[in-house]
């Protein structure tokens, strides 16, 4: 199954001026446990997906109270800098949709 079918929210947004944070919130506890326990979402996997060094994934947490997994990526340049294309960091999440969750 794909992540997009198990999650109710998949979003990205600035977290301060130097980072973009990603929230994957599951529909219910069962889906959350399936995603969490699959191991398909982890620091290495998201770094690989976005083609970035793992050191740029500054935070990766499983957030039980919200049935969520959250990670944060350091931007190469602060938001709104030269050549900016996503000021709010709000359209960086789409590639997460197709992650296969066994």
């Amino acid at each position: 199954m794909k992540l997009v079918d198990l999650a109710s929210t998949i979003r990205s947004k600035n977290a301060g001026v130097d980072h973009i944070t990603f929230d994957v919130i599951c529909r219910d506890r069962k889906n959350f446990e399936r995603v969490r326990d699959s191991g398909a979402l982890n620091r290495g996997a998201v770094a690989h997906l976005f083609g970035i060094e793992e050191s740029r994934v500054t935070d990766f947490v499983v957030f039980e109270p919200a049935n969520a997994i959250k990670f944060t990526i350091r931007r190469l340049r602060p938001s709104g800098g030269l050549g900016e294309s996503d000021l709010f960091g709000s359209q960086q999440y789409a590639p997460l949709f197709d992650i296969e969750i066994p």
């Binding site: 980072h19 976005f50 709104g80």
Partner: protein
Amino acid sequence: MKPVRIITPTGHLGTTPLEKASFERGCAASPDFIVADSGSADIGPYPLGADKAASDEVWQRHDIEAMLLAARRLGIPLILGSASDTGTDRGVDQYVRLVREIAAEHRLGPFRLAAIYSEIPVDEIRRRFKDGATIRGLNGRPDADATTLDRTDRIVAVMGAEPIRDVLEAGAEVVIAGRSSDCAIFAAPLLNAGHSLADAFFCGKAMECASFCGEPFMGKETILGRADGTGVYLTAMHPDQRCTPASVASHAMYERLNPFREYVPGGYLDMTHCHYEQVDDKTTRVTGQTFVPSPTTWIKLEGSGKVAERALFIVGIRDPYTIANLDRAIGWAKSKLTERFGPLGQGYDVYYHVYGRDAVMQAMEPTPARAPLEVGIVVEVVCDDAARAETICHIAGKNLFYARLPDVKGTAGTAAIMSDEVLHARPAYEWTLNHVIEVADPRELFRTRFETIGA
């Protein structure tokens, strides 16, 4: 400890208007304070650096009018933080003017207004740096040095609860605060009433974006937050919205590096052991938050500086051969710029934002390009001089019309020009400071002024 009830109708006063029906419902729920945050760093570095509001004054006035009239009618204080998006002195003065105008129009008053200013001259930070202060970079940023300050046009310090607590204790009925920690504007009245740092800052953290802590997703609807010593209670005021353990916990994650810590001057709120429970259909109670004090006090500094002038040109491409060879076409266009204006990056630069391919995600785009039917290209040129930016941008765009590709069939123009004109864009600024500076007293970077408004 006295129970306190706070309502907030908007998470960013001024962006779009607050919704009056749920706000009125909140006003009927016996609130002790009306509080709203007006700030955002998401709007980019331009508004701070150039000292311009990002929001339209029409909506700022709309929201302030609704809140001021309600606060005066109910006889309760109104607290507005991060005035006019950035919280500069201009923003504080603008909001004070709006309060004065609305009060005159509705014959309100007299009431006591406190304005708290948080803009800091760059020279003041320079002086502290020369005297040995460390300007510590946040979250992996290097510490600031003299060069960083030279690149900075404007700085605001981000206040914690202390300056707001002080003016409330001195009798302020309307508080217009410069740049403020979102949660501190809610925490201040709770702390004055004797609530714990943990409950006060958690209540602020949950309420700062108003109805974003409820479900289903709605913006600009009113939330009631209250604390009585047995936890923090959050209630949605819109008839179709609820605050649930999932919605409140989800909001704890929103726009943050991680969901467990919120730093404020003097320590951090720890949400690791928060317990969320539904206590009635629309209300969630949160307990278990703690506050971890730090031995020293650090105040956040936000700084922005101008980098360059900008100009834009828009073209579209439909020819599948040109689309398939787009990088070659762009490469050719760039080579012509280099020929005329010298190497890219020396005095000017150009960005070809290719919508339909990878404009949005750029280097982070993992999906191999599928040949799109059309692409739209926004050509962006940055340069110290505005006239030169325009000259270069026109050529940078038009060169896609003349792109030389070996097998191109359409030899009468290889791009669709939407309008043969260069669009003037606002100058480019950059966030130069996202740092903290140590202070002896959390009030020392802020200035307060009282004024009596109305007859």
